[in-house]
Point group: C2
């Protein structure tokens, strides 16, 4: 297994570039601030890519997949087999993220971080299986510290091996809203009931069961309060690998597009380790999964879309992608008042 060398993500002080970018935006042919959040996005992308004329290049959609020991306890409406079945679906091009990635020209890589079933090697699939699913977090740590570090290192390697200056993060793993809720509860101090949601569609009965099992998991891992200890305790492999990948992407100043509840939970760990990761993050959407709004608020994040999505896979990141391209195009291609000969505001 790969060994983990902690990644440092430096905070960037870009006061001069911020001023230049703001000046450029303010002189585009539109009333001041009239493109709203798109202007803030353009400014941020200019800063991340260190350019007044940023261009997004070879965007990579990376979907990490893994199984969860806790799934056997009935925390999800779907059986664990759906994890590998959906990986097959991603690779066959029939899943939502496959369709959306094709639409937007995003290269799609699926990473087996720890799927229970052995998958046949093929193009578009990276097999970096840490184990065939995590242990049951309600009985103790989902993974060992060594497994957790191996997953982080593998995630960093995945990003290192991919081209481009932007990475969109997605995931698949039956049971992983449970891991995300546990990470949120432990790392943000939010009461568990406010972190837990219906996932793929639990009924009221299922929700009660899920909450009780997650309560057990918190107790079984009461000591796990550092970011890495919590990550190892609650899993899963796909979340840990995504966390390492985000740290690597941030260190390389790539644009990180954060999907929904699970992807944001990976970021929660990453930013607890290296707060400056957040400077490189664009939040694609606010999920319908009930804890996500609070998780985003904790990160002071303002998502681009709010369409009631709760699918994961990176589907929300893919849907938001054209807005990033628009923000860059505005900055690069729009005329200024001077260049277009348009009169400015009189008042």
């Amino acid at each position: 297994m790969s060994s983990w060398t902690p990644i440092h993500v430096p905070a960037r002080d870009q006061a001069a570039l911020t001023q230049r970018l703001q000046h450029v935006l303010d002189h585009k042919t539109k009333p001041l601030g009239a493109l709203g959040q798109l202007e803030a996005l353009a400014l941020q992308l200019g800063l991340i890519l260190d350019s007044e004329t940023p261009t997004l290049q070879a965007p990579q959609m990376v979907v990490f997949a893994g199984d969860h020991g806790m799934a056997a306890r009935g925390v999800s409406a779907y059986p664990s087999d759906v994890t590998w079945q959906m990986v097959e679906n991603f690779l066959a091009g029939g899943a939502a993220v496959s369709v959306l990635a094709r639409q937007h020209g995003l290269a799609l890589t699926v990473v087996d971080a720890g799927v229970a079933k052995d998958l046949a090697p093929r193009a578009g699939l990276q097999i970096r299986k840490i184990a065939a699913g995590t242990a049951d977090a309600s009985q103790g740590p989902a993974m060992s510290r060594a497994q957790c570090e191996a997953a982080l290192a593998a995630g960093a390697e995945v990003v290192q091996g991919l081209p481009g200056n932007a990475v969109l993060f997605g995931e698949m793993g039956i049971g992983n809203t449970s891991s995300a809720a546990l990470l949120m509860a432990r790392l943000t101090g939010t009461p568990l009931a406010q972190c837990v949601g219906r996932g793929t569609g639990l009924d009221d009965e299922g929700m009660k069961r899920k909450l009780a099992i997650l309560e057990q998991a918190l107790q079984a891992n009461a000591e796990a309060d550092s970011p890495l200890a919590a990550l190892a305790a609650f899993g899963g492999f796909e979340i840990a690998m995504m966390c390492g990948a985000m740290l690597q992407a941030a260190a390389q100043n790539r644009v990180i597009v954060v999907d929904g509840f699970i992807a944001t939970s990976a970021l929660l760990v990453a930013q607890a380790l290296q707060p400056a990761v957040l400077q490189r993050c664009v939040f694609a959407h606010q999920s319908d999964e009930s804890g996500h709004a609070r998780m985003l608020a904790h990160l002071q994040a303002k998502p681009l879309l709010n369409l009631g999505l709760r699918l994961g896979e990176g589907s929300g990141a893919a849907l938001a992608w054209p807005l990033l391209a628009s923000a860059c195009a505005i900055l690069r291609d729009m005329a200024s008042f001077d260049s277009a000969g348009v009169s400015q505001s009189e008042r």
Copy 2:
């Protein structure tokens, strides 16, 4: 001038297709309803285009431009000259809507509905000028009934002459948030102060002035309470022409993508004449212009984006466009549980 033959937009009862589309969506490889508002959009697009596998073809961005007599009274932060200057900017490719239309492959047509200055003919510009700006609505009707009908007819002709099955509507006209606010106040019964906003960026002083002038306009046109009388009273030519264009697009069952405050005010008139227009409308975004949220609520419309935009031009419609394409792609290209061999929910 063209003569106006009222356009009938039949209400469509598509119960069987609705059921088939819902069935298709429910069997895609995702938890039930997990794509949220995108699923509702896919259903609607299937209904408008009368297909279980809808495809958007040759989408047309049409930007109507016109000047307003009332602008001379100081209802806008910008001088009227900006209308023709921005038309030049649209055609030169430097405006926000030009940049976004290029990004998304939307054909851009600019229509001179009544710009005060004479514009040189060229590709991409349709000169259908009713007059060189409307009269001052604070002193009486902005246009005559004949002018209003000519504008409606010209709008219908514009759409008839364009290919494709989707039209995105944009506008340019210094002073036209005033017309939109007046139409809203008269046609929805909303108190004027709740309809009036800062437009392109009035300060508090400017807002007071605008409100007082619009109050005068309401009084000067107290009798104008039918949809067409209100449209003639408050203008502008670009709004009337857009209204006719929307009716025509609806009658042809094209997808209508509604931009912000001004475009929605044109729709307010169109749906007052022919309520079934709404079945064909997708609402792109909620503008930051303060009356827009209320206007959308009046139409029971749920916009796709909420990014604090307040630019007009069709910029919000263009930004939302990829979501329509995504919705169609989901319906056409996603695998079903059966076709992908994915297990369904156990609970």
